[in-house]
Symmetry: C2
Subunit: 364 residues, 2 copies
Amino acid sequence: MRKIGISEIEDIALGAALLGAGGGGDPYVGKLVAIGAVKECGEVTLLDPEEVPDDALVIPIAMMGAPTVLAEKAIGGNEYKTLYDMVSRFFGKKVYAFLPIEAGGVNSMLPIAACARLGLPLVDADGMGRAFPELQMVTFTIGGMSASPMALTDEKGNCVIFETITNKWTEELARAVTMSCGGSVSVSLYPMTGVQMKQYAVKNIVTRSQKLGEAIRTVKDSGSKTPEEHFLEFSGGFRLFRGKIVDVLRETRGAFNFGKVVLEGIGDYKGQSAYVEFQNENLTATVEGEILATTPDLICLVDTETFAPVTTDALKYGKRVLVVGLKCFDLWRTPAGLDLVGPRYFGVDTDYIPIEIRCKGGNS
Amino acid sequence: MRKIGISEIEDIALGAALLGAGGGGDPYVGKLVAIGAVKECGEVTLLDPEEVPDDALVIPIAMMGAPTVLAEKAIGGNEYKTLYDMVSRFFGKKVYAFLPIEAGGVNSMLPIAACARLGLPLVDADGMGRAFPELQMVTFTIGGMSASPMALTDEKGNCVIFETITNKWTEELARAVTMSCGGSVSVSLYPMTGVQMKQYAVKNIVTRSQKLGEAIRTVKDSGSKTPEEHFLEFSGGFRLFRGKIVDVLRETRGAFNFGKVVLEGIGDYKGQSAYVEFQNENLTATVEGEILATTPDLICLVDTETFAPVTTDALKYGKRVLVVGLKCFDLWRTPAGLDLVGPRYFGVDTDYIPIEIRCKGGNS
């Protein structure tokens, strides 16, 4: 158990945006919401997963929709209380704590804001260990848990509760409502007991985000190593490419941001080209026609100078980025995990090969 | 209080299809569902609205979506029980009775099936006195009542509860879910007390449907009058046109059936032409370029021989129809009523003029 204040939030936002793998939204927007809530209501208690009682009701809180929409559409302050009330009423039981559903610039932050405003603790765990675009894409689904009852509310006060036959149906129906509500909403799903959370959640992800953020912030203090070497070391990353953005193709469709960013090599990579495809999050990294990394491993673009993560909605012509691959959480590499989030689910016609095998003999 | 059995259902289906004003679905499909339930579970008790206790919880049951879809997509048997459970659980109170939300071939029938299967009484009242395409278009909206909490379930078992800030938002969000569920679902909305029902519902609509159905069935036994004169007399209808269908334009969009049927005059109307536009229900009747009737008055097409109503999904080339206008329920003619269901709401650029004024000096 420890406290999270403003300086912790700064680092968590930065590190979580890296783990967002291009998605998860703008850490600047997320940070403002969390810092605003903490300034107004006080610091938040972060619980180690093992500190949560087995029979406690814990619920993930998240924003659903296209991150590009969120940047323009306000988040109100009452959504968390509304979600709390909807879930408590449904179960006839108090909610013990919130947790994030994914790591990302926005969805790592909103649960902190929610905890601050409601005086609840935050659990140091999530359901992805990164960000993914669809709501059934959580370790909890692998554990056979239901996304239902799922509570959804918008900034206007509309409320919907879904109880569906599969998590894919929850996604289908909640996505339709999200679009009708203007493209982004606040949700709570996968309500669970402490014991379920301990069994399937990705543990200590908030702390990992914070450490990554702190390391990025101090990346220049790298002693004898270059900042890039230092970055690759502390992040456990594989260097896939370094280049300048020469084209960004983007389409907002079905409340997702689809697209592709094309890179022209710089430094060691001069004369080479690469591209990264995304659906909110980066899906594949292809260098000189060869796929070097695919979902569910994390493909992250970071600024070549500051090593700050560059989300898909912040891509723009001329920006110089390092493309880095990070190993995903173990459960994603199981057959059940790959069914949910492997390349073929996203329409990419290639087998999943772990990044450390694809990059054998490469950098890092 | 009286009993509804198979012969009553036959007449109610026929009369309600007339009041459906082109919409409300295929009475044949509706009838099969209701008769099946009554054969299996016994007759249904029909309550006069005044027999319902003031504090009783009564809920309308309906199918939402495009009637053309319903004809191909099965209605299961468990939906009513599911809706009952969702609403009872929400209020922590037993549901006393069901009522129809509208008059129409399908939505007059499903509540009968629901009552048979759950052993509940049916209230002789609805919220429209005809059919309309959107769910906020009920007298209960004029009474300031909320469509929320609205319960929705599909034949697969997906369940959704909506609590929205306005009835227009309920329509918006429930429509999106309806489309995602395949275009038709079962719903319960406008949960109300007995006293609210007595104040705003269109009373004795089931009985009116039954009488109209009986009269259509026996239209040939008209003594000295022609069947058409007899039909216009007992229905209180205004004759707008008689013609042969020469064209049907149809489009299923946003879970609605939009379209236009073009008629070529026969008999007294030889040489004239007319058209009727619809969105599930008929919206306007235009004869020789002049609008003779608009929503919310009822525009009904009936077979020139049998006087059986022809719904918009049953329109086809060559069919000979009589176009008849019926006065709508008084509340629809108030400013609040016309805001909800007047011609301009549907994008028809004309004022509402009551049918008896538009047709002054005409037939009937």
